[in-house]
Amino acid sequence: PLSKPAQTQIYQIRFESVELFVNEGFKLSKYKYRNRSAATAAEIRIGIPASVLSENPDFYLDFFFRLLSRMIHFVLLISRQGKVRLTKWYSPYSQKERTKKVIRELGGVILNRGPKLCNFVDWRGFKVVYKRYASLYFCMCIDQDDNELEVLEIIHHFVEILDRYFGSVCELDLIFNFHKAYYILDELLLAGELQESSKKTVARLIAAQDSLVETAKEQASSISNIIAQATK
């Protein structure tokens, strides 16, 4: 939260003990932080001119949220032709950043990677873990200090759940039933973190919700409803 003390022009964001101080006369410096991998980060002061910050506080809030959060920042599924099949954003990215920076730029980088290389790409200070399954690339963006091997497992976890749900899932399934793919993802990840390690549980939860939808459909087409419609 951006709080502004009355007397001086100091903006303060506290997150992971990073304090962003704005003072007159400080030169704009790129974010510099000491000991970023420490669990309890020491106070880090970064000077940004007040005028710059007040022009666009949202940008800086977003920027630092992304920088300092350890989480999955976004999930991206793209086809070999670069078509987007699913995107989920857990960190703040503006619409423009989403299309230009991420989808186009990152998509380009990943689609150009050769086949036998490792599944990790350094991108704009972050790390993107990707894995190709048939014609689709599953990508998840994490931090430099995060466990990329685990994220590979998370991707595989997601793919296996999709596979069980659709029965040998293929790209067409994800195109025509994109909303269902999202429902499944929402049972797997929340706020950029893993939500459930049991595939069985995820399947059960999805089945229960699907059945609620079925029941509602049946009720809608039940006799009483038809009568109600006819007499409208």
Partner: protein, 548 residues
């Protein structure tokens, strides 16, 4: 029947769009659909609201603007039926981001849904809140989420735990409220609740030092026990991945223990046994096992020193380094870079393998290995390391040569024990990759040569020899040309021969020819030609017989 009435099924619209052959065709189809949907929206159509939102979401994913549909999400969320809410919340998360003011209007619906009698609806609300809420919404609804941390259904508790993470990130002041409920989650048995509860505690520690102290004091032992139980657990098919029970939970526990043990000797002591057990017992033939080992190594490196554990950790990294799997090697190099600050000696022992990685076929690995080597260089190992790096230079591709050259030059300049060694190395680099050498670097070389009067003869002879074989390297030509101009007489008369040198016969006209070649060669740019001309001028005064 008109296929583009508001009655088009989602499936049919998708088919229609996919069958378009050109971008213009697609735009036309989308435009028609959007028009129909807009009309339905302005008529407040109830029947097709659900389907229209689904269509809008698909259109949004294609990259078209769909903000006119945002209010529809709100209307669906406000409906009473589960299917409507489900698609409404999905639409909300897809079409909006937290910067839209429209989002605030959902706060009331969210509040009601967080109190709904249908737990799946509570789940939908928690999901939306946890993924896109703004700071104000977080503040407003935090008490509801806090309450749900103790809900009867574990699936709700786990969603509430992750939702709480977003709340404390957006409003760190609220962190204190979540400490106690989070601690109770750690005592549960349900895996989903455990992994989310552990994650919540981890993030609480980052935001609040009060939380860190609390968990450290009250929960470390319990967490160690939970990890022990996981490590010793019998086969559990529901959570088994590659023979390990719930690797995700293993990893999250290790992450939290790392934070608790860091900077605290008692907490670190408490976890030594289990860390040793994990490090030695987990099988590393599958990715899941390696992911756990990787996390374990990270934890060992961060907590207070226990000599035995550190050695164990570095050994694991050493094994990772020789693994055939690219991912494992990449990860090992990454971790070793951090391990240097903790135990540089141990990392030095793996120098040979790291140097192998500099020649790897994977660009990501080469780069990481090079960064690591750079950090490993010191006065005592600079000579063998530079030798290896220069060898890699010969085998590397154009893209990598630039980076590698820069690093070698930097190292050589920083750590050079003697001038003659520096000159030798620079010569090799210039011969192999002169075109990648920056101006400041070869200028510096010239300065060093001119300041080393005892090496003038050596330098000019060595450069002359190199020049014979590597004329495609522009900077080599320039340095050679400068030297020949300055010290041509030493070249011709073998002045200042060192013990290690072999005599070389170069006549005055040979020297002049060399300069002529430099001017005439096709690739020579203006700088080179100019330098060669100046050199010729210098020689003309020293070699009067060759004046023509």
């Amino acid at each position: 029947m008109n296929p583009f009435s508001s009655g088009t099924r989602l499936r049919d619209m998708i088919r229609a769009i996919r069958s378009c052959k050109t971008a213009a065709e697609e735009r036309a189809v989308v435009r028609k659909e959007c028009a129909a949907i807009r009309a339905a929206i302005s008529e407040n159509d109830q029947d097709y609201r659900h389907r229209n939102l689904a269509k809008l979401m698909f259109i949004h994913m294609l990259g078209y603007p769909t903000h006119f549909g945002q209010m529809e999400c709100l209307k669906l969320i406000a409906s009473s039926g589960f299917p409507e809410k489900r698609i409404g919340y999905l639409g909300l998360m897809l079409l909006l981001d937290e910067r839209q003011e429209v989002l605030m209007l959902v706060t009331n619906s969210l509040k009601q849904d967080l109190n709904h009698s249908n737990q799946y609806i509570i789940g939908l609300a928690l999901c939306a809140l946890g993924n896109i809420c703004s700071a104000e919404m977080a503040r407003d609804l935090a008490p509801e989420v806090e309450r749900l941390l103790q809900f009867r259904d574990p699936n709700i508790r786990k969603k509430a735990a992750l939702c709480s993470i977003r709340i404390i990130k957006k409003v760190p002041d609220l962190a204190e409220n979540f400490i106690n409920p989070a601690a109770s989650l750690l005592r549960e048995k349900h895996h989903g609740v455990l992994i989310t509860g552990v994650q919540l505690c981890t993030d609480l520690c980052k935001v609040s030092s009060e939380a860190l102290e609390y968990f450290r004091e009250k929960c470390t032992e319990g967490l160690v026990k939970t990890l022990k139980d996981m490590a010793n657990s019998p086969y559990a098919p529901e959570y088994d991945i590659a023979g390990i029970t719930d690797p995700f939970l293993h990893i999250r526990l290790l992450k939290l223990l790392r934070i608790l043990g860091q900077g605290d000797a008692d907490a670190s002591d408490c976890m030594n046994d289990i860390l040793a057990q994990v490090a030695t017992k987990i099988e590393s033939n599958k990715n899941a096992g390696n992911a756990i080992l990787y996390e374990c190594v990270g934890t060992i490196m961060s907590i207070e020193d226990n000599g035995g554990l550190r050695v164990l950790a570095i050994n694991i990294l050493g094994r990772f380094l020789s693994n055939r799997d690219n991912n494992i090697r990449y990860v090992a190099l990454n971790m070793l870079m951090k391990a240097i600050t903790v135990d540089a000696q141990a990392v030095q022992r793996h120098r040979a393998t790291i140097l192998e990685c500099v020649k790897d076929s994977d660009a990501s690995i080469r780069k990481k290995a090079l960064d690591l080597v750079y950090l490993l260089v010191n006065e005592s190992n600079v000579k063998p390391l530079t030798k290896e790096l220069i060898e890699s230079l010969e085998a590397s591709d154009q893209e990598f040569k630039g980076v590698l050259t820069a690093k070698i030059c930097s190292l050589v300049e920083k750590f050079s024990p003697e001038k003659i060694w520096y000159i030798d190395q620079m010569l090799k680099v210039l011969s192999e990759a002169g075109n990648f050498v920056k101006d400041e670097v070869w200028h510096a070389l010239i300065v060093v040569i001119s300041n080393a009067s005892d090496l003038h003869g050596y330098s000019v002879r060595a450069l002359y020899r190199a020049f014979q074989t590597s004329t495609e390297q522009e900077t080599l030509v320039r340095v050679a040309v400068w030297c020949i101009g300055e010290y041509g007489d030493m070249l011709v008369n073998n002045v200042g021969m060192l013990d290690i040198e072999e005599p070389i016969t170069v006549t005055e006209s040979d020297a002049v020819d060399a300069l002529e070649v430099s001017i005439k060669r096709l690739n020579s740019d203006l700088t080179t030609k100019a330098m060669a001309l100046i050199a010729l001028l210098k020689l003309s005064s020293r070699f009067p017989s060759c004046s023509e």
